[in-house]
């Protein structure tokens, strides 16, 4: 049971949230301009690092806001929490060991 601090509501149990996968994946501005391969990549391919991962969570049982979290996928240590739309605060490169 992860403990995640919603930027608006504070620390809550994981079960109050809904996971949203990788953060900062923008919907292409003009999908029609993409090749099938590029569109397929947008649809299906997401980073899957072993290490720090910028990901989205929705506080579905609370304020219902989406926000971003930088979490280490091995230790589950959370090093940043920031509202949707903000840039990732740290400059870590993702470790893939």
């Amino acid at each position: 049971m992860l403990l995640i601090a919603c930027p608006w509501c504070g620390e809550r149990d994981e079960t109050e949230y809904h996971y949203g996968g990788q953060a900062h994946v923008a919907h292409p501005a003009d999908p029609a301009a993409l090749t099938d391969a590029e569109w397929g990549e947008y649809l299906f391919v997401r980073a899957n690092p072993k290490g720090d991962f910028a990901e989205r969570w929705l506080h579905s049982a609370g304020c219902r806001r989406w926000f971003n979290v930088v979490r280490h996928t091995v230790t589950h240590d959370i090093t940043a929490v920031y509202p949707a739309g903000q840039a990732r605060p740290d400059a870590h490169t993702e470790v893939t060991a």
Binding site: G10, R12, D13, E16, A61, G62, R64
Partner: protein, 210 residues
């Protein structure tokens, strides 16, 4: 304008009162029977038909100021959580979202006033009075009962009168509003989940009541 004058008109409700059924109307006796007095006691009852208006707007825009004036209190932020103005309680639900809770019958008046002060600023005001009902859990063991199914820190150092939170109790989402230090909590719950929550609370209360 005072908040109470906002909340005055409830004639329509009186006229239709005999047609209304609250989600837990049939359960009043069981709720009472599950309650117990005493130094380790806990009570549960439904407060049906509370007016509930969901308000969404930019918290720092001009409409927010106008709303504050009309209500006679600033809209609460997270740290303030709840502000009380006359008979109304304004609950912080999110960075741009509040729930104005008032006595039975006050929704139309409050809605009308708020709609006026909102003007054409983009926001939303939705009457949810019938969407949820309210369970009130009170008494010396009320906190312990909630703690059987709520993972929030409800210790007085962390949560007390004037605090509200959207969270889950057992498998149900609720808006939790602590109204006094006894403690007394209101649990605002969607109508279709009310029965489950009531059953669950009654079961959890049997841990506390002798």
């Amino acid at each position: 304008m005072t908040a109470d004058s906002l909340a005055a008109d409830n004639r329509a409700v009186d006229r239709l009162a005999h047609l209304r059924r609250s989600p837990l109307g049939g359960l009043a006796d069981r709720l009472a029977a599950g309650s117990a007095p005493g130094p380790r006691g806990v009570r549960l009852r439904e407060i049906p038909y509370l007016a509930q208006l969901n308000l969404r707007l930019d918290p720092i825009g001009p409409a927010a100021r106008r709303v504050a004036e009309a209500l006679g209190t600033p809209l609460p932020d997270r740290t303030a959580s709840v502000t009380v103005t006359g008979a109304l309680r304004v609950l912080w639900l999110g960075p741009d979202e509040w729930l104005v809770v008032g006595p039975d019958g006050t929704a139309p008046g409050v809605e009308q006033t708020l709609r006026q002060v909102l003007g054409d600023e983009p926001g939303s005001l939705v009457d949810l009075s019938a969407n949820r009902t309210t369970l009130e859990l009170s008494g010396p063991s009320a906190r312990a009962v909630l703690e059987h199914g709520c993972s929030l820190d409800l210790h007085p150092r962390a949560f007390g009168p004037g605090h509200c939170a959207q969270t889950t109790v057992s498998k149900v989402q609720v808006i939790l509003d602590q109204t006094d230090a006894e403690p007394t909590y209101r649990l605002l719950v969607r109508a279709s989940f009310a029965r489950y929550l009531a059953d669950w609370l009654l079961d959890a209360m049997s841990e506390s009541t002798p």
